[in-house]
Symmetry: C2
Subunit: 410 residues, 2 copies
Amino acid sequence: MSMPVPRRHFLQAAAAAVWVPGTARGYSASDLRPMTQDDVLQANVSKWELDTPALLVDLDAMEANLATMQSVLSRNGIASRPHAKTHKCPQIARLQIGSGSVGICTAKVSEAEVMLEHGIESVLMTTSNVTPFKIERAMRLRRWHPGFVQATDTPENARDLSEAAVAAGVTADVVVDVDPGGRRTGITPGRPALELAQLVDRLPGLRLAGMLCYDGGSQHVTGFRERRAQTRERLAPAVATFESMRGAGLNTEIFSGGGTGTYNIDHENAGLTDVQVGSYIFMDAQYLAIGGVSDAAVYSDFQPSLTILTTVLNSQYEGRATTDAGAKACTINRPWPIVKGETGMSYTASSDEFGSLVYDDPSRVYRTGDKLELIVSHCDPVVNLYDVMYAVRGDRVEAIWRIAARGMSA
Amino acid sequence: MSMPVPRRHFLQAAAAAVWVPGTARGYSASDLRPMTQDDVLQANVSKWELDTPALLVDLDAMEANLATMQSVLSRNGIASRPHAKTHKCPQIARLQIGSGSVGICTAKVSEAEVMLEHGIESVLMTTSNVTPFKIERAMRLRRWHPGFVQATDTPENARDLSEAAVAAGVTADVVVDVDPGGRRTGITPGRPALELAQLVDRLPGLRLAGMLCYDGGSQHVTGFRERRAQTRERLAPAVATFESMRGAGLNTEIFSGGGTGTYNIDHENAGLTDVQVGSYIFMDAQYLAIGGVSDAAVYSDFQPSLTILTTVLNSQYEGRATTDAGAKACTINRPWPIVKGETGMSYTASSDEFGSLVYDDPSRVYRTGDKLELIVSHCDPVVNLYDVMYAVRGDRVEAIWRIAARGMSA
């Protein structure tokens, strides 16, 4: 899988090359909708002609992932509320909503702003806003977007939200964020969480919408049985809390949690309304390694759809090659990216600017100028490095999607 | 060092807060020159009022680093050609040129485009361009910018450059990239490098400008003596090659190499004209750990000027706190970021969205809403995550600089 360029065709190739923007700058100021899609389709450009490093999403694989998720969740009687922190791309959020998701999640208020601005109307922000500036932004969002739901995890914060909502003249929907045991975010389940829910229910300017408990610590547990045992145990206190909220007559329309690693387990938690799956849309080397129900070695429920296209820059040294996709194009997450369709070679991206391909018993040897595709190590932070992703079907570029919430860490 | 917000001042603070953009979008479309600097100055905004995560550069520290570098290099009779892959910011490149640097380096053609477009006229691109598309871009740049110099590391590539230069009607300045032993990029020193230099010298459309040998593998060797011994040994073949180029009557105006870890060693390599220092401008936890001449434990030649401002999101669990700066704001490079001005606590950013502060024997305990500053782990990839950096003097924001080459990995 490469595009070798024989020297004699070199200048011809340069001359004939369809102009595809080498940097994303030409697109970053444009509208989300792929305005240049028609041009691209007319040009019938092959992904192998793209300048590199480039981020690609395989549409057949991604659509299969959407369908698999929807089918399994429907069977299990639970909804999806995919986490947009993974793709940061309104176009993909739209596809998720279109395939049946009840809404999306965002980690940051800046991500929520991008998604709401782009017509995604149901957004649950899973992180609490704790500064006056961010709370004000959230309330401003809520004024224009009735589908925006916020999280809170302390009584102090709930009071701050209430004051800000009243000042902004809005009624803000709020879910209580409950800690599954990681002591990272969320309030302790049981009485503290119940009392916080009751406080939210009472405070002016707020409307209690339910609960949230994201068990991030269980998503990458290796082995389906081990993963299931851990997440069931960790969710149990939240499940009991949710039951007590229901018993206390509080609004329990949302009980959101779970993720790609536990999507086929989460429905066993009584009351859980939806799963915050993120990585299923792309998959990555980290998730492939956790193992699934049918295959203990490889988590094959979803197909790897997200790849980095890279070019070999140097092949003059025996047993190895250097590419143009280093840490700034791949991150340094482990396991390292996987060279798609090849065996007997390993890829590392520990250098900022360069990737290293080392041959063991290689299925092929790459020459300078050849291109190869890498299955990403960990999709979320990789997506956050790029301004656009190229949506490809087979070898053809079908659309160019702006990663409109790229860099939105605030 | 924080800005606690007493509850009773909460809404007042929100109301009085000077509007500072929470995301960089408001600035990314604007010109590089800090158009809003006057507004910021008038507002007299404190860095503690900035929305987070935010990237800050301390101007006093950065200016001291510029002065130290220039003073040591002048004494040693060698020039600097700072690597812009570190800061990706034309404004800083301008300061470097202003302080005496002979030009800048870039790793990618897209970075070179940004720097040249922003008025930085002397740019040495240290990576070879190997695809027709990138070579055409480089030749187009050369047509308009006589100060643009390219690298090559194979005879085949030199011929490609020659054909493209002739086709574009330009004479391209080219340096031969020589491998210091990493077998990553560059041609083998000695006869292969000399013959390549002679080929470049002969080929139509090209002008040999000299040589390049970047010893990246020695920059982070711990201990000054060990670092010196290693880099002297690794550079020796390149030094001999450069001497033979001179002996063969070739143009030897450029012999570029070295970096922040070896800046006070590089002049010992006969013929080296300039050092490609990058990180000295910011410093980071990785460089602090390598040790220097005067202090074996800490590399104190330069001051850490680059920090990430982050807000505590959750402080309700004993012995720890959660912040809003995780892997997407800090990268996962090691050593982990250092909490500026504090002792007895450690910071990790292994979660994509959240940072974790763990207390051992803490100099203070942070509450929800407090802000803290982190000395970055590894400056280059951290800068690549942000659209702007806030240039601060003391606690005051003096300018907002666009990181115009952010994301330019192609």
